[in-house]
């Protein structure tokens, strides 16, 4: 290797790592500054600069206060109920739909696919204007099952992930089961569904994070925040009179994003691959 090539390689490496460090710094800074502030006492918060580290990393007062003030105990229960139901129902609905669309040829198959695709292009915020009226008529406002029902609706990405997965499962498997006299229900539940497990895990993680973080519809349809707040909407408690006590607010924010962080650390690979496979197809 000549000197030029060598030094060129070193420069390239320096640029490479500097860019990574620079952008990682900006990606982390907003969150890390919140963590720092969340550990400060009221006095420290008022007297020191926000970027000065707290005296004690064991001062959990803000976390306890934020948890109680925002009623996050209730909120975590609500979010868990919503999460479990939404994941359960949307998995059953989504896999069944994908099964029919992938395995059966019938007139209207393409039409149904296109209907789901088109639905995903409609911006949610705009659609909630008329959906609000429908929710109102169905008495679904301030009604947990109502919100869950809305959240189970169309989810094209999951359907695409499932359809893609079905395409890779050999149809001769179905055919030999039919020869053995198995019904379609049996084929789906006994043979195909177990094989679909990796796809189910992937789309559940994506849908789970999305559901946990959803706040716009939760705010519209679960307006009674004392009873029906989710973890995300419980943070609305800090709007208003508490709006400048950032040590408290930051603690609340950190609590709310801990579950997402844990899931992320545990399931990085599935999240990445889920995003990629969903996006390429769409």
């Amino acid at each position: 290797m000549t000197f030029m090539e060598k030094s060129g390689k070193i420069v390239l490496n320096v640029i490479k790592y500097l860019s990574l460090i620079f952008f990682s710094f900006w990606a982390l800074l907003p969150v890390v500054s919140c963590v720092i502030t969340a550990f400060k006492t009221d006095r420290e918060y008022q007297e020191t600069n926000v970027m000065v580290l707290p005296k004690s990393w064991l001062n959990f007062d803000n976390f306890v206060n934020a948890f109680n003030k925002a009623g996050m105990g209730r909120a975590f229960i609500n979010s868990t109920i919503i999460l479990v139901c939404v994941l359960l129902f949307s998995t059953v609905i989504g896999t069944q739909l994908a099964y029919v669309l992938n395995r059966f040829k019938f007139p209207g198959n393409t039409l149904i696919r296109n209907m789901f695709l088109f639905a995903s292009m409609l911006p949610g915020v705009a659609m909630q204007i008329p959906v609000f009226e429908i929710m109102y008529k169905l008495h679904f406002i301030n009604f947990l099952p109502g919100y869950i029902t809305v959240m189970c609706g169309t989810d094209v990405i999951a359907i695409y992930i499932y359809i893609q997965f079905f395409e890779n499962i050999d149809i001769s498997l179905d055919e030999s089961a039919i020869m053995d006299g198995a019904s379609y229900f049996t084929i789906f539940y006994r043979i195909l569904l177990p094989l679909l497990k990796p796809a189910i895990v992937t789309s559940c993680i994506l849908k789970g994070v999305g559901t946990y973080n959803e706040y716009y519809m939760a705010n519209l349809y679960l307006q009674d925040k004392t009873r029906f707040a989710t973890v995300a909407t419980s943070l609305y408690t800090f709007v208003g009179p508490l709006g400048s006590k950032y040590n408290l607010i930051c603690a609340g924010v950190i609590i709310s994003l801990l579950p997402a962080l844990i899931v992320f650390i545990a399931c990085q690979k599935q999240i990445y691959s889920g995003l990629t496979s969903g996006a390429v197809k769409g």
Partner: protein, 312 residues
């Protein structure tokens, strides 16, 4: 085995319960059972509301109470009221932001798809903002941009003086850019992961062959990486334009549309849910949807044409 003609005759003679037990009957039964719930949900929460929205746009109405047919008046208002259609100008900021976001994502994805020490850690750091809920993001950035707080402090470390720094969320000349910055912050990591996925799907032998042929990094980028992510890149460009037109979250959670940061959808949200002018808000939604569809179709045609050209 019976001939098809025979089978057809037999089929006609079957009674309904018999047909139900046959393979064909089972098939239809399963299809109905599996399709009915998703289709009902799709109808009730997407297509019926969609039709309703178009109908509402011709009425002067609230959620409850009397409604009056007003013809095209709502549509005229959308274009004549200063706060409605004019708000679409703000989407230019968001389009600018998505250019930055996509190029940044592409740059970092290229770096990370080669061997890098601590690569997955960097990737995780930059991706994580995507997983934070919207309300938390609102608080994080209200805090981040507050006078003398996080952003100002870091800039002061770099030698800026606080007196020369603007109020990031109040100053009308800069606040939209601050908001766009939060959106770039949130999504560039996700774009990056998508691009890495696409780059990784290329067979490794291709890179080795290119190395052997003496291709440098830039040539590798141009002839191997770029073609491999063409589809997903185009998809993201298309998504980013419609996303910019319907930009909503950053101003909604951070400034609530104050000081000239109200994008089209933030204004629409306020008109629909605060002022309860459902008809006008519906008209706004319909207008924007038409624009988005037109833009999307034009873009698809454009890319089809351009890429067809480049292949030939």
């Amino acid at each position: 085995m019976s001939t098809p003609a025979n089978a057809a005759v037999r089929k006609n003679k079957r009674s309904f319960p018999e047909w139900l037990r046959s393979r064909d009957g089972q098939k239809v039964l399963v299809m109905m059972a599996f399709l009915i719930i998703p289709m009902v949900l799709l109808m009730v929460f997407t297509y019926i509301p969609f039709a309703e929205m178009v109908r509402y746009s011709f009425y002067n109405m609230k959620y409850v109470g009397a409604r009056k047919f007003v013809g095209m008046k709502n549509y005229i208002k959308v274009f004549s009221r200063k706060d409605c259609f004019g708000a679409l100008k703000l989407s230019l900021y968001y389009m600018g932001g998505s250019v930055v976001q996509l190029s940044l994502a592409l740059y970092l994805a290229t770096i990370l798809s080669f061997k890098v020490k601590g690569g997955s850690l960097f990737k995780g750091f930059m991706f994580f903002p995507f997983l934070i809920n919207g309300i938390a993001i609102g608080f994080i950035f209200k805090f981040f941009y507050t006078r003398g707080f996080v952003f100002d402090t870091v800039l002061q470390w770099c030698g800026f003086s606080l007196d020369n720094l603007p109020y990031w969320l109040k100053d009308r000349s800069i606040n939209n850019i601050s908001l766009v910055g939060t959106s770039v912050w949130r999504y560039f990591g996700q774009n990056m992961v998508l691009f890495i996925g696409a780059i990784m799907s290329v067979d490794n032998e291709l890179y080795e062959a290119a190395m052997l042929d003496g291709a440098n990094r830039f040539q590798q980028f141009k002839y191997i990486i770029l073609p491999s992510i063409k589809t997903i890149f185009v998809l993201n460009v298309i998504l980013s334009i419609s996303g910019s037109l319907s930009a909503f979250e950053p101003p909604y959670v951070i400034t609530d549309g104050a000081n000239g940061t109200g994008t089209y959808f933030v204004i629409m949200h306020q008109i629909a849910h605060t002022q309860q002018k459902v008809g006008l808000a519906s008209a706004m939604a319909v207008v924007l949807l038409l624009i988005i569809f037109t833009v999307t179709i034009l873009q698809k045609l454009f890319f089809k044409y351009v890429f067809k050209d480049s292949v030939e």
